[in-house]
Amino acid sequence: MMTPVVLWSDVLIWLLVLAASVLGWLSRRNPLLRAAWQRVGRSRAGMASATVLLVFVCIGLLDSLHYRPRLEDSAGRGTGTSSEKTAVYSVEVLSLLDFLLTPLRTRTEKTYSEPLATRAHAKESIEIRDADGQLRQSRDYPRLKHGGAHLGSDEARRDADVAERVLRALGLAMLVWWMLAAATAALLARRQNCSHRQAWRRIWHNESDLACNAVLAAIAALLLCGLPLAILASDYHVFGTDKVGQDVLYQVLKSVRTALVIGLVTTLVMLPVAIFLGIVAGYFRGWIDDLIQYLYTTLSSIPGVLLIAAAVLMMQVLIDTHPQWFATAAERADLRLLALCCILGVTSWTGLCRLLRGETLKLRELEYIQAAQAFGVSDLRIIARHILPNLMHIVIIALVMDFSSLVLAEAVLSYVGIGVDPTMISFGTMINNARLELAREPMVWWSLAAAFVFMFTLVLAANLLADAMRDAFDPRLAGSA
C-alpha cells in the first residue's frame, strides 16, 4: 500500500524524543532534578504553556512519519497479473498528518478566497448557460469548488450554517472537557483516597502537586478553539486559501513541524559545541581559554545574517549541481532545512558558550572542586561529576529560551529568502508569500494573520515555559521560593 520514507530530520526528531524520555527517566531517579521538575509542575503558567506546547509537538510528530503512497494502477492494464511486481510509488512524500488532513490538502481552489467564503476573492469572467441554452459571459466572483459546496445554491444560509456548527462544536467541546475534568478528579480521588468532591476542590484551589487547574484551563481553551475549527474545516476554508488555492489552515499546521525542527535540531547542533568549549575554556584557562575566546569573539563579530546567507547560498549551489542525490523533492527540501539548522547552530553557540565559561570560572574556584583535586580525581571526571551537573540549569534554561528565538529567526530568514526551501511550508515562507498581497486592494490578510497567530502562540508558550523552568531550576531562585 505504501513505502515508508525516512528523512534525516525525522531521524533527528525521533532521536530527540528518545533523548527527552531518557532524560525524563534519569530525572525521575535523581531527587534534585525531580524536585525541580515538581516545581515546574506546580507552576500554573508553566503547565498551561506546556499543555499548549504538547499539542504543537504532537502535530509536529505526526508530521514526522513520512511515506510514499502506492499509485493506483491505471485502469488500462487492470488485469491484475503484472501489477504485483511493478508496484509504482508516488514521487510525492506524504506524512501521517497529510493523511489525516487529506480533505484539507486535496481540496484546493483556484486562487485566493477569504476565510469561510463561498466565493473567490477576485472577480472573473464566467460563462453562464442561460435558461434558453445560450452561453453568456458575465464578470462576477466565481463560486468556490469546495468552500461551502454543501450549501448548493443556497449561499445565504452560510451564516446560519456557520453559527450552528460553531454552537455544536462548543457544546461538544464542553462535553469533552467535562469528561476529561471528571476523569482527572476521579484519578486524583483514587490516588489520594478522598471523595470526588474533595478532589475537585483540591484541583481548583491549586492544592494538588500538579497545577491541574492550569492544565484543565489550557485544555478548555484549546478545545474551545480547536473543535469549532475542526468542524468548520470539513466544509469551509476556515482561514481561507492562498494564491494557488491551498487551504491556509493546512499550511499553518504543516509549518509547525518546520518551526519545531528549526528550534530543536539547531539547539541539538549547538549544545555539544557550546558546552564542551565553554567548560574547557573555563576549567583549563590559559592558552586554551584564549584560543576559544578568540574563536567566539571572531565568530560573533561577523554579522549573523551575512554568514548565514553565504552558507545557504553555497549549500543551494551544491544541491542544485547534484540532483542525483535526491529521490524526491521532499528529500531535497529536508536537506536544505537541516543545513539551515547547522548554520544557525554554528552562529548561535557563542552566547551560551560565553555564559558557561563564566560559570565554570566561578565553579572551579569552589572548595569542592579543590577537594576533588586533592583526591587526585582526573580533570575529565571533575568536569563530568562536579562541573557539568552544576551547569545543567543554565543549559536547560538556555535551551528553552533559544527555542523561541530560533523559531523567530527562521521566519526572518525565510522572509529574506535565505531560509528553508521555497517548496517547504513554514511560517517564514507563508509570511514571505503574503507580504506582497498586503498591498492589494482589497487586502489579502488571512495568510499573514494565521501564520502570526500560530507562531505567536507557539513562541509565547515556549517563553512562558522557559520562565517557569528558569524559576524551578535556578538554584538561587529555587532557594528563595
Partner: protein, 675 residues
C-alpha cells in the same frame, strides 16, 4: 511628672512586645516573638545570639526595612517618643539615617561601587541636613577625619574599590554619622574584618559614642566584642530574649542555661586539651517552634514544666532578668570539662617529622601587555619552613592576606610551588607529576572553611565521601559496591553522623553537620595529615565546640597531624601544640603554644594578641594599636615587612629583612630586636 519626662528623654528607644514573621507560601513563620528592650542615650545594648535567632530581623524591623517576605505582626517601637510602626513612610525616611543609622556587616557590599565616597556621604547630608556646596564638603571632611581616615581630601574623590576593608567600614560609619543620628544600630560591624582592624573599629565606635552621647544597639555573636563594648547585654535565642543584664553581672554570673553553655563552649586556656562544652542539637527551625521554653530540648536541666509552659521574666538581680523556670542556684552549670588532657610532651619530639616544609615559595606572576609577559610577582608565600610530627597540631595564624591559606594549598599541591621543598615522610612533593603524586594524595587531605561551598550540592553524601576512595583506589575497599558502602557508613559514624545520611543531599544538613561531612570525606582515605583551613570560622560558637571536640577525638584515636590555619587565637590556644605566626608571606615567629601565646616576642605577635577581644572583663591587655593595614604582597616594604607598622622599628629594620633568631630550642623569631 517631671521626673518621668526626664526618664523618657533619656530613653531613646523602647521596644515593646515586637513580633516579626516571615511569609512562606501561605503561612507565616514567626521569627521574633514578643521581644522588649530599651536603649538609653550614651549606652550600648548588645544583642547576643547565634545565627538564625532573629537578631538582624529585629534591627531591620526597627528601621522598617524588613525584606519583602517579612511582616511586623505587632508591638510598639517608640523612638524619642514617636511610635515608628505607625509613622507614615515619608516621615520614616527622616528617621532612617537622621534619627537612627545602621552599619552593616559587610563593608564591601554596603557601599555602592560606582559612586565616590564623597557622593555617598553627600546623599545623606543633602537629605537630612539640607547642606550643599562648600558647607557640605567641609562637613564631609570633618566626618572623615572623625572616623580616622588620613588624607580625607583625597579620599572624598575616591571609589570604594580604592579603599581597604577597614577603610570602607570607616567610611560606612562616617556615612551613618552624617545625618547626626542619636541611635546607631551596628549589625555585626566587625565580623568581616581582621582582629587588628576590628580592634581599631571597636575603639572608634566607642570614642564616637562617647563624644556624641549616642545610643548604640550592637548586634553580635562574639562574646569578646560584647565584653569590650556593651553596657547592657540581651541574649537572644530562637526569636526571644532569654536573658538581659548589665555587663558586669552578665559576665560574672550568667543565669540562663543557654548563656552559661555559650560561655562554656568558648575554647580557652582553662579548658586546654580537654573537651569543650557543647549544646546538643540545634536551634529549632521557625516552622517547628516548641510550645514551652524554646531551649528546653537542648537544656540539660529541663524538666516537665519547661516543656509545657513558656517561662516568664524573672528578676534575679538589679537590672538582671532571665526567662527560665529554674530556681536561683539550682541551675548553676559548672563547666566541668572532663580533663582528658592529651598526653603531650612539650619540647621537641624524637619522632621524625611527618611533614617538612623548607623555604616554600608561591609567587603569582602579574602579567601585563599584549603578550602577557610577567612584569612582577605577588609573593604570596615567600620562604616558609615548617615541621610537623605525627599526632601533633601546628597552628598557622595571621591576618587575611598573609598567605596562610596559600601555604596549605601549596602543601597539598593544589597550587604549584615556585620554590622550596615539601617532604611528606621523606618523599618530595614539589615538582612531581600528577601520577607520581597520586599515591601520596591519600596521606594528606584538606578541610575547607565554608561547609556550604565545599560540598557539591548535586551529589549525595555517600557519593561525596566515596569519591576520594574511588579516585585513590583505596586498598581494602574493592570496587565492589557493598564494601565501599560499609566503609562510608563507618566513616560517617566516626564523625558522629547517622549512616543513613549517605543517601541524602548536602542541602538537608546544617552548617555543623556539613562540616562533619567534609571531615568524613577527608577521613575516608585514612590520611596522616589534615590541613584544616579555618574549619570553624563559618560556624556558631556551640557548633564550633562540637567540631573542635571531634577534631581532638580524631587526633587522639587516629594519630592525625593537623596543620590548623586560623585567625582565631582562642582556638589555637585550645587545640594546637605549636604555633607559627605569618606576616606577608613569611613566618615571623614560631614556637610552642606556651612560648608564642604566653610570651610573644615579635612586635607583630604582641599586637595581634592584644587586639583579640577577650570574653572576660578582667583579662583585656592593653591594646597595641597597629597603624595602617597589611601592605600588598606584590609590593612589600623594603627591609622588615613589618617596619611601617612597628613602633619599635629602627634604621636597620628599614634596610634588610631580619634573620632567624633562636630564643629556645623550639622558639624562633625573625626580628632585629633579638640579635
Amino acid at each position: 511628672m517631671s521626673q518621668e519626662t526626664t526618664v523618657n528623654e533619656k530613653r531613646l528607644l523602647e521596644v515593646r512586645d515586637l513580633s516579626i514573621a516571615f511569609a512562606s507560601g501561605r503561612s507565616l513563620l514567626a521569627a521574633v516573638e514578643g521581644i522588649a528592650f530599651e536603649v538609653a542615650a550614651g549606652e550600648t545594648l548588645a544583642l547576643l545570639g547565634e545565627s538564625g535567632c532573629g537578631k538582624s530581623a529585629t534591627a531591620l524591623a526597627l528601621l522598617r526595612l524588613l525584606p519583602a517576605a517579612g511582616r511586623i505582626l505587632g508591638g510598639e517601637v517608640s523612638f524619642t517618643g514617636r511610635d515608628l510602626l505607625r509613622l507614615p513612610e515619608a516621615d520614616m525616611r527622616g528617621v532612617r539615617g537622621g534619627g537612627m543609622a545602621m552599619i552593616f556587616q559587610e563593608p564591601a557590599t554596603s557601599l555602592n561601587p560606582v559612586l565616590t565616597v564623597g557622593r555617598q556621604m553627600a546623599e545623606v547630608l543633602e537629605h537630612h541636613l539640607g547642606l550643599a556646596g562648600q558647607t557640605m564638603r567641609a562637613r564631609s571632611l570633618e566626618l572623615l577625619t572623625a572616623v580616622g581616615i588620613a588624607d580625607p581630601e583625597r579620599r572624598l574623590g575616591e571609589y570604594p574599590f580604592q579603599l581597604s576593608g577597614g577603610m570602607k567600614q570607616r567610611v560606612m560609619i562616617a556615612v551613618a554619622l552624617a545625618g547626626n543620628p542619636c541611635l546607631l544600630i551596628a549589625d555585626e560591624p566587625t565580623t568581616a574584618l581582621d582582629v587588628t582592624i576590628q580592634a581599631q573599629i571597636l575603639e572608634l565606635l566607642r570614642r564616637l559614642q562617647a563624644e556624641r552621647a549616642m545610643g548604640m544597639l550592637l548586634i553580635t555573636h562574639d562574646l569578646g566584642v560584647v565584653a569590650q563594648m556593651a553596657t547592657r547585654v540581651g541574649v537572644m535565642y530562637a526569636g526571644e530574649i532569654v536573658e538581659e543584664a548589665p555587663r558586669a553581672a552578665f559576665f560574672a554570673s550568667p543565669r540562663h542555661p543557654y548563656t552559661q553553655k555559650l560561655f562554656a563552649a568558648l575554647p580557652n586556656l582553662a579548658r586546654r586539651g580537654g573537651r569543650l562544652e557543647t549544646i546538643p542539637g540545634q536551634v529549632p527551625p521557625l516552622s517547628a517552634m516548641p510550645g514551652g521554653c524554646r531551649f528546653a530540648a537542648r537544656c540539660a536541666h529541663a524538666w516537665d514544666l519547661c516543656r509545657q509552659e513558656a517561662p516568664q521574666w524573672r528578676e534575679v538581680g538589679p537590672d538582671h532578668r532571665v526567662r527560665c523556670h529554674l530556681d536561683d542556684e539550682q541551675g548553676r552549670v559548672h563547666s566541668t570539662g572532663s580533663k582528658k588532657v592529651i598526653a603531650s610532651t612539650t619540647g621537641t619530639l624524637a619522632t621524625p617529622a611527618l611533614l617538612a616544609v623548607a623555604d616554600l615559595c608561591v609567587h603569582f606572576p602579574i602579567r601585563r601587555g599584549l603578550l602577557q609577559r610577567p612584569v612582577g610577582y605577588v609573593r604570596a608565600v615567600d620562604g616558609v619552613s615548617l615541621e610537623l610530627a605525627r599526632g601533633r597540631t601546628l597552628a598557622l595564624v595571621g591576618e587575611s592576606g598573609c598567605g596562610k591559606t596559600t601555604v596549605g594549598k601549596a602543601i597539598l599541591q593544589l597550587l604549584p610551588a615556585s620554590g622550596g621543598s615539601v617532604r611528606l615522610l621523606g618523599q618530595e612533593l614539589v615538582g612531581q607529576s600528577r601520577r607520581e603524586l597520586r599515591p601520596l594524595r591519600r596521606r594528606l587531605q584538606m578541610i575547607f572553611q565554608d561547609p556550604f561551598a565545599s560540598l557539591n550540592p548535586r551529589m549525595a553524601v555517600g557519593e561525596i565521601i566515596g569519591e576520594g576512595m574511588r579516585a585513590l583506589a583505596m586498598p581494602g575497599t574493592n570496587p565492589q559496591r557493598p564494601d565501599r558502602a560499609a566503609a562510608i557508613a563507618a566513616v560517617l559514624q566516626q564523625v558522629g553522623l547517622d549512616p543513613a545520611a549517605a543517601g541524602r543531599y548536602p542541602h538537608e544538613f546544617s552548617g555543623g553537620q556539613r562540616q562533619r561531612i567534609a571531615i568524613a570525606r577527608a577521613l575516608a582515605v585514612q590520611p596522616d595529615l589534615v590541613v584544616c583551613d579555618e574549619p570553624t570560622s563559618a560556624l556558631d560558637v556551640s557548633v564550633q565546640a562540637q567540631i573542635l571536640n571531634l577534631l581532638a577525638d580524631l587526633q587522639a584515636d587516629l594519630g592525625l597531624a593537623y596543620l590548623f590555619i586560623t585567625h582565631n587565637f582562642a582556638v589555637v590556644d585550645h587545640l594546637a601544640h605549636a604555633v607559627a605566626v605569618m606576616y606577608l608571606g613569611r613566618i615571623v615567629e614560631q614556637g610552642t603554644v606556651d612560648e608564642v601565646l604566653r610570651s610573644p616576642q615579635h612586635p607583630y605577635t604582641r599586637a595581634l594578641l592584644s587586639a583579640v577581644p577577650s570574653p572576660r572583663l578582667d583579662e583585656q591587655p592593653e591594646f597595641i594599636r597597629l597603624p595602617g593595614e597589611i601592605p600588598s604582597p606584590a609590593n612589600p616594604p623594603d627591609g622588615c615587612h613589618f617596619h611601617p607598622r612597628c613602633r619599635q622599628a629602627s634604621a636597620v629594620c628599614r634596610e634588610r629583612y631580619p634573620g632567624t633568631s633562636t630564643l629556645s630550642t623550639t622558639h624562633t623569631v625573625r626580628c632585629h630586636l633579638y640579635r
